[in-house]
């Protein structure tokens, strides 16, 4: 194994409601959803209509911007609705699941003989291609490209993130198979990054270039790892796949069937019993939240987040788990006034600033709510963001270049290397309360449009 890459910068936010290592099989839900909004820059074009019978792996829609890429149903059943928002924008396609689950059948390839094109074709047809994301930009990969390398992070360092060693117990063979498939796609190596002293069985995976990382969040973000392994320059394309998706790809190539089950962690201070659930991708949040949200006092409410508290998406109680999520977090809404809160000691709240006292109790677990904790202001505090982005990048200068819409500067200052998730901590600590993740996404979208 190579040397350990230690990252000094970052922050672990210690929250209440970490999942205990027990796994519950979630019952089959009534409906499942696939949403184009779970991916960036997708313009969906429907391939089915309400009432159509589909199997797991049957295409539901394709992307007009990337026409070979289809998005398929995770379950077999009947298309029950196409939900639209403003301007008839497709929000999601729901499928009412059958009792008996069947999958589209794909011929199992012999990976020793199969060509790269055959592998790509199988991934595209089954819809599992959408698990491969491209950097820069964080969009679904274009099958016409050949990336210089492929990166997989074997751990998640976000607040309350699931332990991937636990979530992927018993999936070792599928992971190995998945990595074999991925190694056929990239020109260079497949890089797998594990956490120091917590690599578990992942360390035994073969055919990849193994890296060991140590540090605080965002050390588990694949973008941060790429920066330290083989950074992205202008013109470079690399692909990334989430570790649970590697297992799903492995299952497809072992069995020829689309099997999109995965393990997610139900976490957060407002969850009765935080633990792990085995679900099928696209399941409704209610299928795991049933009876699990703590009773709230009158006037209080909770926020359900598909994903972690830094980067997840807010979902309603009747919403669906996003395709990319590996956890659900439930925290209190913070829609309350707090009298003179900005002068108070506020020992129940968390801050990286020493004008509060949370630094004195690093082990304390916090119950944080969604209050913005202040008003939106122009950037004032220089030098703060740098401490929470473990990359050789000047975040403040990059953000200002994005605000100015200066493409050349954005390029020079590192827009190719970051996604929203990588600078989510900057947004968390910002005393000026700027929506930095949205800012960065706007910048990336400008790059996509202009380049």
């Amino acid at each position: 194994m190579s040397e350990i890459i230690k990252l000094r910068k970052g922050l672990d936010i210690n929250l209440q409601g970490k999942a205990t290592e027990s796994l519950v099989e979630a019952p089959m839900a009534a409906t499942y959803a696939v949403s184009p909004l779970d991916y960036e820059n997708v313009t969906p074009k429907l391939l089915v209509k309400v009432g159509d019978k589909v199997k797991a792996g049957t295409p539901l829609f394709f992307d007009k911007n990337n026409t070979r890429v289809v998005y398929t149903s995770p379950v077999s059943g009947t298309v029950s609705a196409v939900n639209r928002g403003e301007k008839r924008k497709i929000l999601n396609v729901t499928v009412e699941a059958d009792k008996e689950q069947v999958s589209e059948e794909f011929a199992v390839l012999d990976l020793k003989k199969a060509s790269r094109e055959e592998v790509i074709e199988m991934l595209l047809k089954s819809g599992l291609w959408t698990m491969i994301l491209q950097r820069p930009y964080g969009i679904v990969a274009n099958p016409a490209d050949e990336p210089k390398a492929l990166f997989v992070s074997a751990f998640d360092s976000a607040p309350l993130a699931p332990c991937m060693n636990f979530a992927l117990k018993g999936e070792q063979a599928n992971l190995q198979k998945g990595l074999e498939v991925l190694s056929l796609l990239a020109a260079g190596n497949v890089h797998l990054s594990v956490r120091a002293n917590a690599a578990g069985e992942m360390a035994a995976l073969k055919g990849v270039k193994m890296h060991t990382f140590e540090g605080k969040h965002p050390v588990g973000n694949v973008g941060v790892q790429i920066h330290h392994i083989d950074p992205i320059a202008k013109g470079d394309i690399v692909w990334t796949v989430a570790i649970q998706d590697v297992a799903a790809i492995g299952r497809l190539f072992s069995t020829g069937k689309v099997d999109l089950h995965k393990v997610i962690a139900l976490t957060g201070s407002e969850v009765e019993k935080p633990q792990y659930y085995r679900i099928i991708s696209g399941a409704p949040v209610a299928s795991v939240l049933e009876g699990q949200i703590k009773k709230q006092a009158e006037g209080d409410s909770v926020r359900i987040i598909s994903g972690n508290v830094l980067t997840g998406k807010k979902v309603e109680a009747d919403g669906y788990i996003t395709a990319t999520a590996s956890q659900i977090t439930v925290i209190p809404e913070g829609d309350k006034y707090e009298m003179l809160g900005w002068i108070a000691p506020r020992t129940h709240r968390f801050s990286v600033s020493r004008s509060y006292f949370s630094w004195l109790c690093p082990k304390k677990q916090y119950k944080l709510d969604t209050n913005l904790n202040g008003g939106v202001r122009p950037f004032v505090m220089a030098g703060l963001f740098e401490e929470y982005l473990p990359m050789d990048i000047y975040p403040m200068y990059l953000f200002k270049a994005i605000i100015a819409g200066d493409i050349d500067k954005m390029e020079n200052l590192g827009i190719y290397e970051i996604l929203e998730e990588d600078i989510a901590l900057c947004e968390f600590v910002d005393p000026s309360k700027t929506e930095i993740q949205q800012l960065v996404r706007d910048g990336i979208n400008l790059m996509i449009k202009e380049c």
Binding site: G341, G374, R377
Partner: protein, 375 residues
């Protein structure tokens, strides 16, 4: 929560479209002062650090309190008062100045916020407190008002408001007053209070500051300890190096001010002082520079302003060092201005973006080269 109810009741009147809609920004400033708003996160990170600009600025003011209180005491003690009487005398003496600073400054800020339909930024909370502290205690109030108005409008708002300004607004006010009214703002009387009350002996009290004495004779009439503790004439809040360092410790502890900048200013000043001593231009010890005049105050509270100082870590070392060195250079070499700190900081404010530019360019080049060398 009775107060909350009252605020909720009058809120519509002061919101846009209400009878006093033109006061919306002012109302918002008062409301958010009383209550942290109930706004929740919409996009991105769902939870946020509980630190905000109000708290940050409040801690800067807190850090200024020791020097402020000592300034009050020293004002009284310079006109022959002692103990509590001296403190009270100084407090009464400076309050009108503080009031003028806040009324004029915040008034302009509120008007600008209302025009821009923004919330009132907290920056002036600090600037307004700094301004009386860097003025000689007998500065006429109308001069303070003019300086404040000039600083807020031309030092800050024309650049786009808080966070966008190039020069430290408080120093702009000081510089404006100094250059516009040079005869009144220099000489030997302005450093002493001229109010006859509480038995203060104001008649005939005058004298050069320690800084002026050093510049002209190379000696000062006070001991080093007096200069360190602050029992010397000077601008209201700048005299006590000890109290300033107390405030500086709080700023460093809370991480609001950059230790890189602060340390570099002191190092720069010392280095330049030793250099002059070594070549024989001055015959007093280099560390005198750090004790007299506005050096310490500038190093701790002005040079570290996160908006106008350098933004990059390397830049902070460079700009800090040059600020300190430049201040001593002006003090020693330029006979017209005995105080070099104000000019040094303002000059380095102007230069800081250039220094940062080169630091960032180096980063860009480094990253380009790094990428080439990998494989």
């Amino acid at each position: 929560m009775g107060l909350r109810k009252i605020v909720d009741n009058v809120k519509p009147t002061f919101s846009e479209g209400g009878k006093f809609g033109f006061l919306a920004s002012l109302f918002d400033a008062i409301e958010t002062f009383l209550f942290v708003p109930n706004t929740t996160t919409k996009k991105g990170a769902h939870v946020r650090d509980c630190n905000d600009m109000k708290r940050t600025m409040f801690f800067v003011v807190l850090a200024l309190i020791p020097a402020f209180l000592f300034g009050c005491y020293n004002t009284g003690s310079q006109v022959g008062l002692e103990g509590f009487a001296a403190l009270m005398y100084g407090l009464v003496r400076v309050l009108p100045m503080l009031a003028v600073s806040y009324v004029v400054g915040l008034g302009i800020e509120v008007i600008y916020a209302q025009i821009r339909k923004e919330e009132v930024a907290e920056g002036y909370f600090v600037t307004g407190f700094l301004i009386p502290m860097i003025m000689p205690v007998s500065t006429p109030l109308w001069m303070v008002a003019l300086g404040v108005a000039f600083a807020v409008i031309f030092g800050k708002e024309v650049f786009g408001g808080t966070g966008m300004n190039i020069f430290n607004p408080a120093l702009v006010a000081r510089a404006f007053v100094f250059f516009a009214f040079t005869p009144q703002m220099s000489g030997e009387k302005v450093w002493y209070s001229d109010w006859t009350m509480m038995g203060a002996q104001v008649d005939g009290v005058s004298g050069a500051t320690a800084l002026e004495q050093l510049a002209t004779t190379g000696q000062m009439q006070w001991s080093v300890m007096d200069a360190f503790l602050g029992f010397i004439p000077g601008s209201f809040g700048e005299t006590s190096t000890l109290c300033i360092l107390l405030g500086g410790a709080l700023l460093l502890y809370t991480g609001i001010a950059s230790w890189r900048t602060m340390l570099s200013v002191f190092v720069g000043g010392l280095a330049m002082g030793y250099l002059f001593q070594a070549v024989g231009l001055t015959d007093y010890p280099a560390y005198y520079h750090l004790l007299v005049g506005g050096f310490a105050f500038g190093a701790v509270f002005m040079a570290t302003d996160p908006v106008t100082s350098a933004q990059t870590n390397v830049g902070k070392y460079i700009v800090g060092f040059m600020t300190g060195a430049l201040a001593v250079l002006v003090r020693v070499v330029n006979p017209a201005y005995p105080e070099g700190m104000m000019l040094a900081i303002l000059f380095m404010n102007a230069l800081a973006p250039t220094v940062d530019y080169f630091v960032v360019e180096a980063n860009i080049n480094r990253r380009k080269n790094r990428i080439k060398t990998v494989k």
